[in-house]
């Protein structure tokens, strides 16, 4: 099985990819419509909450964070796999990433934007959020640079802007192709503008590669730091259950994990709706699945490390939280997390499932569900079972407003993503061409070697 056919003509690549900008399958519209409705629900919930007060979310004194923060971490985590595929694998010269890194990178950007929304949704006085920004003002006040939340805001903002830049820079040659192949309408103007006069000269290519590499190098530590900082939102606080040393890597592993799972999901969807069967091949899928499996096992290991550290540690309050997770009112969700996060991925170890698209689709959704539950299980049980037993609360079921906004965020993300794929080439044309070229060179080399011409 090959990652890609070596005999695809470059013109066919252009044609196939450009067609995705115009004529997707019907399912595309169904998805867009579904996403739009979900998003409207979320938006309605937010408007209601904004006007009436945070109370409608059914948060309360110990349970101050709820699903918003859990989902925030989920989306931040989701963003990591884009960076993994595009930057890390780029540096490692894994060329099978080429047909799929573009949409993964887009996923990074959009999930970060979604995560940012949750910060907004979560704060009590949305209209004053700018107090958290460090800017000179006539009050002479500054935000508190000691607060992990501020680091968080800065890390996310930097990561987002870098990701957008990375996505954009990587797209310039393709935008030029779009520019050259489309001849009318606003799109033409858009592509002309964004292509920055790309002509494909040697000088341009040289500068392009240096820039791209630089941003990639810059992005990797950033990605790791972002989720480590999100982990320190918890680890730097005083509540029981968030103090295991492996918390940051645990968060990063979880992030990559959920991201990979999401890539599988979107891979399958895009492959179908845009008819990308030639580029998003089963072979690439298989590689992705194997990568996911590896990360799942790393995550499982780190999870086990966390439980063990708590179980054998001296922090009795943290242990109480762990016991509460496993036996208390959150038990179904916690065990659900263990099942979806550690048991379900075992299926990916079997070769026959590694290319079975329906199974993979279902599994990837389950993995994401598991990872979402993981985030919820980090946030909620600690709050409902903290240091102070008087306020322990096991009756904290998020209100429909919270659920509505969580659903809305999926709608928002899908909407952005789908619109992106329709407007911009979601498969990197020039890199696929490179890939085909390299493969064919390789093939030729092998052929000549086989013939023993030397």
């Amino acid at each position: 099985m090959k990652d890609i056919r070596e005999d695809i003509a470059w013109a066919k690549i252009n044609r196939d990819v450009l067609v995705s900008l115009e004529n997707p399958r019907k399912l595309y519209w169904v998805i867009v419509f579904g996403a739009l409705s979900l998003f409207s629900v979320g938006l309605g919930c937010e408007i209601y909450q904004y006007q009436v007060g945070m109370g409608v979310a059914n948060l309360n004194n110990p349970n101050v964070w709820g699903l918003y923060i859990a989902t925030f971490i989920f989306w931040i985590g989701m963003s990591h796999s884009g960076t993994l595929l595009s930057a890390i694998l780029h540096l490692m010269h894994a060329d099978w990433r080429k047909p799929i890194y573009r949409f993964a990178e887009a996923m990074t950007t959009f999930s970060l934007m979604t995560a940012g929304l949750f910060v907004m949704v979560h704060i009590g006085r949305l209209w004053q959020f700018y107090y958290a920004l460090p800017y000179p003002n006539d009050r002479g006040t500054w935000p508190n640079f000691q607060s992990p939340l501020l680091w968080d805001a800065m890390a996310i903002f930097t990561y987002l802007s870098s990701s957008v830049l990375f996505l954009y820079v990587g797209m310039i040659p393709d935008l030029a192709i779009c520019r050259d192949n489309l001849h009318k309408g606003w799109r033409k103007k858009l592509y002309t503008l964004l292509a920055l006069g790309w002509e494909g000269t040697d000088r341009q290519w040289r500068n392009f590669r240096v820039t791209y590499l630089t941003i990639a190098c810059f992005l990797i530590p950033l990605a790791v730091s972002v989720h480590s900082i999100v982990a320190s939102d918890f680890a730097m606080s005083q509540q029981p259950g968030w103090h295991v040393t492996s918390f940051p890597p645990y968060f990063v592993a979880g992030a990559l994990y959920s991201g990979c799972a999401a890539i599988i999901t979107l891979f399958i969807i895009l492959r179908y709706v845009f008819r990308f069967e030639d580029y998003m091949t089963k072979s690439i899928l298989k590689k992705t699945v194997r990568l996911t499996f590896a990360i799942a096992m790393v995550w499982t290991y780190l999870n086990a490390v966390e439980f063990a550290a708590v179980w054998y540690g001296h922090d009795m309050d943290a242990k109480a939280v762990l016991i509460q997770k496993a036996t208390g009112p959150f038990a179904p969700f916690w065990w659900g997390m263990v099942f979806c996060g550690s048991v379900v991925p075992l299926m990916l170890a079997f070769k026959r499932f590694q290319t079975n698209i329906p199974v993979l689709f279902a599994v990837s959704l389950l993995l994401n569900l598991g990872m979402w539950l993981e985030r919820w299980m980090i946030v909620a049980p600690t709050f409902s079972h903290g240091y102070y037993p008087w306020v322990w609360d096991n009756d904290q079921w998020p209100s429909l407003i919270q659920w509505g906004m969580v659903m809305g965020s999926f709608g928002w993300f899908t909407l952005l993503f789908m619109v992106f794929c329709k407007v911009f080439p979601s498969v990197s044309m020039y890199e696929v061409k490179e890939m085909v070229y390299h493969r064919s060179l390789h093939l030729k080399k092998n052929e000549t070697a086989g013939q023993g011409a030397h």
Partner: protein, 284 residues
Amino acid sequence: MSVSNLLENWSQFRHFHPVDDKPHDPYKWAMSIDIDACSGCNACSVACYAENNIPVVGKERFQHGQQMHWMRIERYWPDHDFDFPEQGAEFLPMMCQQCEAAPCETVCPVGATNHTADGLNSQIYNRCIGSRYCSANCPFKVRYFNWYDYPTDETVWPAEMNRQLNPDVSVRGKGVMEKCTFCVQRLRAAEVTAKGEGRIVREGEVQTACQQACPTSAISFGNLVDPESRVHKQWQAQQVEMNVDEQEKDKEPGGSHLRGYRILEELRPYPSVMYLERVRESAI
């Protein structure tokens, strides 16, 4: 505060007691609560509602755990199994402990909660953006969030009822955190008066609302650095030190005869409230 000012004064801006080179002077407001005297009657809590414009949230919001009582009376039963609570219940008034190394202060993204020079943990409503990180990080869970907009809620302060509001205390709108302030409006008024007269606030000159109401005088409040104050004497007699996470007396094998302790001291927030253990007769 400009950047240079910020950099120069960072250590002061983020000044944490207790540090030995910066002792409290001339004020360190502190409390001691004798839970043997506390009868659990809730008078302090009502006084707090009256003094600090605390909204009455109503049944439904209370059910959702959104009550706002800055001062709550906790009722504890013994940990072991029992048929009847033969030694009664234990009542514990719990409010913001005004920690010296307050976990809430470090995490607020906008610096809406700070330490004041007189040892209070301040909460600035108009700076708060409502991230609730402070509450998340409070081990005592004594911070209360305005889940709804109570000033405009007709069930909370309907016409006439709003005339009871204390003009010295801001009425909090939705989306900000609030908590016990040790009746800072009274402290500041007393401090200003004393300042004008070129002296420090005398013992007994200022009372918190809860202390003032408490029918059994279980609550003492005062200036911990004033050797004349009752609170100072009590802390000293109970050998409770502000700057440690485990008191000397608690290290004594078999326990000491002293009753003073601070709750969740081992987490090192250095609370400013000392509790005196409940006592029960051994002869009956």
